[in-house]
Symmetry: C2
Subunit: 310 residues, 2 copies
C-alpha cells in the first residue's frame, strides 16, 4: 500500500479526491490517499500552496513532492524541502494556455476592442489591417507552455521569436537566449507574451528600458506571473502610447485589488488568473503516472531544478 498525502486547501480536496483515486486505480496503483497520514509513513505528497504542510522535515521517507500548479515559486525556496519536487506539466493545462494566448493575441492583432467598444451604429471599416505575417510576436519563456504557444502562433502565420535563459532550438520559432538575445527578441516586437517562470532573475523583466525596445503601440499579454512586469513602468508606457494595450491575467496581488489602476485603464484588460487552470482529471493522471514511474524505478518527470528555481 502506497501512502499519498494530499496537502492543499480544503476545497481542492473535494475537487481532487475522486479524480486522484480514479487515476491511481487506472494506473494499477494500490494507494491510501489521505490528508492526515503520519509524516514518517508518507511515500508521496500532492502539494498546493495554503495547505497544512509547510515544514517538510518530518517526511523522512517521502520519495517525491508533486506540485499541482505549473508555477513553483511559493515552494521552491522552502529550505525544509529536501525531497525531490515535481512541477505540474499537464497536457490539458498546456492546451488551455495555448487557447487563451492564441485568443488574446488574435484579439489584439485584429483590433477587436475597437469594435466591441464601438457598437454605436458607426461603420468603422478601416481597410487593409496587417496580416499575421506582418505582426512579429515574441514569447518570453520557452518551457512547455511557451513552446506550445509559439508553435500555435507560428502555424497561424505570425513570425514568432522566443527567448529563454538557456539556448534552445524549436522548429518554427526564432530562438534567442542570454542578455543580448533578450534585447534582440524585444526590439520592434509588436506583441509580447510572458511565460517565464518567476525567479529573482526574472522579476521585472519588462521594465521601462525593455518596454522602450518594443515597436510603438505594442501589446503585452501576460499569462505568466505578475511580478514579471514593472507595473508602474507599464502604466507609464501605456500613458505615452509606447504600449498600445495589455491583457493581464496575473498580478503581484491576487485577486487584483479593486482600486488598482489596471481595472479602469481603457487599454488594459484584466482577467482573473484563468489563462489556464490545472484540471483535476488530467492533473490526477499526471500525478499517478509519476508515482507509477518512481515505484517502477524510473526517473520522475518534471523535476524542478532548485538552483534555477523552476
Amino acid at each position: 500500500m502506497i501512502r499519498v498525502l494530499f496537502s492543499a486547501r480544503p476545497d481542492l480536496w473535494d475537487e481532487y479526491r475522486d479524480p486522484l483515486r480514479d487515476a491511481f486505480a487506472a494506473a494499477g496503483l494500490s494507494v491510501d490517499l489521505a490528508r492526515d497520514h503520519a509524516p514518517a509513513d508518507v511515500d508521496y505528497i500532492v502539494f498546493a500552496p495554503n495547505g497544512p504542510v509547510s515544514d517538510f522535515t518530518p517526511y523522512v521517507n517521502t520519495k517525491l513532492v508533486m506540485g499541482l500548479w505549473a508555477g513553483v515559486e511559493t515552494i521552491v525556496g522552502n529550505t525544509t524541502l529536501t525531497q525531490p519536487l515535481a512541477r505540474m506539466v499537464d497536457p490539458a493545462l498546456t492546451q488551455g494556455m495555448v487557447e487563451w494566448v492564441v485568443g488574446h493575441t488574435m484579439r489584439h492583432h485584429l483590433g477587436m476592442d475597437l469594435h466591441i467598444a464601438g457598437q454605436d451604429g458607426v461603420w468603422r471599416n478601416s481597410t487593409y489591417p496587417p496580416l499575421a505575417k506582418d505582426r512579429p510576436v515574441t514569447i518570453l519563456g520557452l518551457g512547455a507552455l511557451g513552446e506550445a504557444c509559439g508553435k500555435a502562433l507560428s502555424q497561424l502565420g505570425f513570425p514568432v521569436t522566443g527567448w529563454s535563459r538557456s539556448a534552445k532550438e524549436i522548429s518554427g520559432i526564432r530562438c534567442l537566449s542570454g542578455d543580448d538575445g533578450l534585447t534582440m527578441a524585444l526590439r520592434d516586437a509588436q506583441i509580447i507574451v510572458l511565460l517565464l517562470p518567476l525567479t529573482p532573475q526574472t522579476e521585472n523583466t519588462l521594465n521601462a528600458d525593455r518596454l522602450a525596445l518594443l515597436a510603438p503601440g505594442a501589446f503585452i499579454v501576460n499569462p505568466g506571473r505578475g511580478p514579471l512586469i514593472d507595473d508602474d513602468a507599464l502604466l507609464a508606457a501605456l500613458g505615452t502610447g509606447q504600449i498600445g494595450g495589455a491583457t493581464l491575467d496575473v498580478f503581484r496581488q491576487e485577486p487584483l485589488p479593486v482600486d488598482h489602476p489596471f481595472w479602469t485603464h481603457p487599454h488594459v484588460l484584466v482577467t482573473p488568473h484563468i489563462a489556464s487552470t490545472t484540471r483535476p482529471v488530467s492533473a490526477s493522471q499526471v500525478v499517478a503516472d509519476n508515482i507509477r514511474r518512481v515505484q517502477a524505478g524510473e526517473p520522475a518527470l518534471n523535476i524542478v531544478d532548485r538552483a534555477a528555481g523552476y
Copy 2:
C-alpha cells in the same frame, strides 16, 4: 498589347492602378490598363460592383471577366454577361479570413466578452472552462475560405464539421453534404461559422428550424453574407438563449442601419464587413496570373459555375 478595362468605383482605381500595372509588368505582360477602352477592343475586364459597366453585350472580344471580390452574387445573375467570369481567390484574402474567424471563434470559446464588459474590480474566475476539444465547431461552406478556416480551427484542437452542397473530403474536417448532412452538421454544434456563397438556395440557411438544432447557447459567426441568416429568427433565438451570442460582419443592408437592433443587442457584436478584404497588391497578382494563363492557352482559374451561382 493586351487591353484591360478596369470597371469599378473610382476610389478603387486609385488603389488598384499601380498594383495592377506592377503585377502585369512582373508577369511579363504588355498591358494597356484603362477605364475607357472602346468595348470591342477589350481583351479582359477587371470588375467590381458599382462601376460603369453593367451591360457586357458590346464586349464581344473579351476573353475573361475577373471579379475583385470573393462573392459574385451581384454579377452572376447578369444575363448580358456571356463571357467567362472568374471569382477572386486571393491567398492573402483567405489568410485574413482565417485570422478573423480564428480570433472571433476563440473570443466566443473563451468567453472573453464577460471579462471585457466586467472591468469593475470583481474577480470572476469561473473554473475549468471547456477545452477546444470539447467545443464542436461547424463550418457551413467548404470553398477556399471555409476549408482554410476549418483546417486552422482543427489544428487548434476543435472538432470541426464542415458542410457543403456537394460532397468533399478534407483532412481534419468531418465533411457532410446534402440536406440530411446539413441537419447532422448543425445538430448540437456549439459554434457555427457561415462561409457559404449567397445564392437563392442558401438564403436564410440559418432559419428558426435550423437554429433550434444547435446546442443551447451556441454562437454564430457570420463573415459570409448577411442574407444567409434569417435576422428575425436569430433575434428570437438570442432572446430565448438558444443562441448565446453572434458575431456578424455582413448584413442584408451595409452599412448596417444605425437603428438596426443588432447594434444594441448585448449578445451581438457587429463588425463592419472587415473579416477579410481583397488587398490590392496580392489581388493584382492573381489577376495578372489569370491573364498570363489565358494568353498562354491555359484554362483560367476560379471560373464561376453560372448555374450554381458561385
